[in-house]
Symmetry: C2
Subunit: 467 residues, 2 copies
């Protein structure tokens, strides 16, 4: 049933407005810009908005409506839901806030809505949410102007979020971080459709490879455990839990009326079912980038290749902190690298190519290490600032080597404006590149954790690629 | 004595080169571009480089040389040091690597250098380092081209680093993060001048308000403790320790031949002497931004003002994790805010202004909270994406209010390209602005930690501004 929310042929917007700063206008404007199906604005007091004919009520629309979007004050919602039911609309997204999260009165309205949903056999996403941004059907119910909130390009990461503000800022970061979005749902108070329905939908969704999940509380623990376990075996779920502490739990109650519950219980359930927990927003994005762009590692044996000793040191520290293992480089690799590296280069693990690093020494060193069975992947610290490095050659040839060995390589290019420029180029070529080595290490460790928690075995082909 | 390294009237570069990719060329080019004193390139095999007359030996220069920079292979360094001594040069920066960090032979050369230093009574920074970048005298010995490594603008943050790669990438980030640099020293193997000499120099340096410090190991524990304690009472030292784990300690030994030692001992000494420890590179930059731009808090009572419930929830979680306290908003503030906020706004702590936030509601809410004795500062989460917010007004009036109450306000503007644009504008106005709320919270907590560790008392004037 939930599928039909994502690919409608016609939508109605109840609460369409002609005032450009109003939510009912912004949503309509986005729909007109992006959505390819039919659009029916509803407002008893308006005639035309954005060159579309406005209908006084959804009942006045003759066509079939696949999805109705409601963006009117909470107290008007129950009767509008009834009208939708009478019209035969089966899928409704309630954007409006002012329900159980806001007041006792809102709570009553929410209960009334639940009754109507049951009676009319309709499905509802929301209320108190942003709704859907689908990068394939181009359904977009977000009330955020596209000139301010950048729409991410098409990709394989989907995002389920109980919070609208977190979701919208995260997807706004996707473009900057070079991450592609498949579909996004902000489901707010979840009076009907909840995280379980959505996880189940993404389980089957061919466009989705990685699932991001922000939650404050789940409604039905048993069902959640069952579904999350099933999904995790097939696709990584990266979850960020809001309401981990006394202060956070109190805030969550005011936010989506969620009972955020004991965090330790959530955290251990995540582990049990194979969900990868992100500590914070940054990790959520960082992990998404790694899982979306690179193959999974066979194990936790990593080589660090760096062009600066100090960066190698802090990268090693972070690897050990996150339980990655740094095997010593063997004699075979050593003798090959000695031929090409200056005498003062350090051929251990980390390998320090020193400030005299060239694009060739980066490329040959990486290739020798990826060839070896010693390593399941690499953390590569690229200093595009080094004077002898031919950055153009490096940017061109690096993706070819990384692609060839089917082992995950996460890069770090620390620094300012020009490093940022190079990071973007690498990310367009599907190489996740972070601004500090610690972020790269934590993301690699998250991939190892996913493989271990879900007991995924490497496939028997040469790709070492369990998914 | 160490002062004289930072403000020379004349420098000699031993190992000047005419090959544009060589270190000896890049350093010379940077000197020519930035340095205002006299420059003497030294190379027995060259005549003219970059339109400067080249001398075969430092002894051939008739003028007094305040600082000599050596950038030749390790085995040539002892005899060059002698020549410098004979010439009467008192301050020498040895950029060259290949000493104790590289091999047994290098270790011997290093020992020889130490003897010469004693005999000739000269002071040496390095070897195996980047040397100095002084944003006031414009001395710049970094062998990194300025078109790739952006030079930060003048400011009040100084940086002492044992590692060149970390130092150079960090200062490359300064511009992007809106942080201003006073002076920077990369001191490498520290055969003479070490962290203690440099901390002592920055203690007295009027240009320096905040000291960043990357270290792998200190040479003289007792002296370090004494000096660090003295400095910390006057200026915050933000330290990142490399070599915290078995893997990191091994790597540090190969890097600067440092005995990185037991991390727990370092960590507890940092606490004892009032040094603020950064967990990683990102924290180092984040903390620098906060300390450099905002006054110190009187205490740990924080108000969170947000325009999104979910963001408020994760900010609360992070506050509790880092031991900040969120006092409830009192009736006085509540009644004032009720007048201006929509009925569904949540006036607790966090305060959720909701998606309908305007620039006025941001500004009035912040001002009411800063006025109150309940709060020592604020974490302000700005959603420039919100449709009703007049961003221009917000950017103009926010700095005025923040300046007025002399309490630290750290902002967060999560999101992509346009958020980044707004972050930059705020940072130019001395308001630290982070891309995730967690980074803002950790930075606020670092300021509280600094005040507590050093038992700093608020001044008695109205500013609540202990430094």
């Amino acid at each position: 049933m939930v599928e039909s929310f994502f690919n409608p042929k016609s939508v109605a917007l109840i609460g369409a407005s002609h005032e450009p700063k109003k939510i009912g206008y912004v949503i309509l404007e986005n729909l007109v810009k992006d959505f390819k199906g039919k659009i029916y604005p509803i407002n008893p007091k308006a005639n035309d908005i954005l060159n579309l004919k406005v209908f006084p009520s959804i009942k006045n629309v003759e066509d079939k409506i696949d999805v109705a979007i409601i963006a009117t004050p909470a107290n008007t919602v129950p009767s509008l839901l009834k009208e939708c039911g009478e019209k035969g609309v089966k899928n409704i997204i309630i954007i409006s806030g002012g329900f159980s999260e806001a007041s006792e009165e809102g709570k009553k309205i929410e209960e009334e809505c639940k009754k109507i949903i049951k009676e009319k056999k309709i499905r509802v996403i929301g209320p108190n949410c942003l709704g859907i941004l689908d990068n394939f059907s181009k359904l977009n119910t977000l009330f955020l102007p596209s000139n301010i909130l950048e729409r991410p390009k098409e990709g394989n990461v989907s995002f389920i979020s109980q919070s609208g503000s977190i979701a919208s800022t995260i997807i706004d970061c996707f473009s900057e971080e070079g991450i592609g979005l498949a579909r996004f749902v902000s489901y707010g108070n979840a009076i009907d459709v909840n995280e379980c329905d959505l996880l189940d939908f993404f389980f089957n969704d061919e466009k989705t490879k990685v699932i991001l999940f922000f939650l404050e509380g789940v409604r039905n623990g048993k069902r959640f455990i069952k579904i999350a376990r099933k999904v995790s075996k097939k696709k990584p779920i990266i979850a960020l839990k809001g309401g981990k502490t006394y202060s956070g739990i109190k805030a969550a109650l005011s936010h989506t009326a969620s009972l955020a519950g004991e965090y330790k219980i959530y955290s251990s359930i995540f582990k049990q079912v194979g969900i990868i927990e992100a500590e914070n927003l940054e990790e959520m994005l960082d992990f998404a980038k790694a899982f979306s762009k690179q193959p999974l590692p066979r194990g936790k044996n990593v080589v660090i290749i760096s062009a600066g000793g100090g960066l190698g040191v802090i990268t090693s520290d972070e690897c050990e902190k996150y339980e990655l293992y740094l095997p010593e480089v063997d004699e075979n690799i050593k003798s090959k690298l000695k031929e090409i590296l200056p005498s003062y280069a350090i051929i251990k693990n980390p390998i320090d190519l020193t400030g005299n690093v060239t694009s060739e020494t980066y490329l040959i060193t990486l290739e020798e290490c990826l060839k070896s069975n010693l390593f399941d992947g690499a953390i590569l610290i690229l200093l595009f600032q080094s004077p002898l490095t031919d950055n153009q050659q490096l940017l061109e040839e690096l993706p070819i080597i990384i692609e060839k060995y089917k082992k995950p390589v996460l890069c770090c290019s620390p620094g300012g404006k020009s490093s940022k420029h190079f990071r973007k180029i690498l990310e367009e070529k599907n190489i996740p590149t972070y601004d500090t080595p610690e972020r790269a290490v934590r993301s690699f460790a998250a991939m190892v954790r996913y493989v271990n928690l879900n007991k995924l075995k490497p496939q028997k082909d040469k790709s070492h690629h369990p998914v």
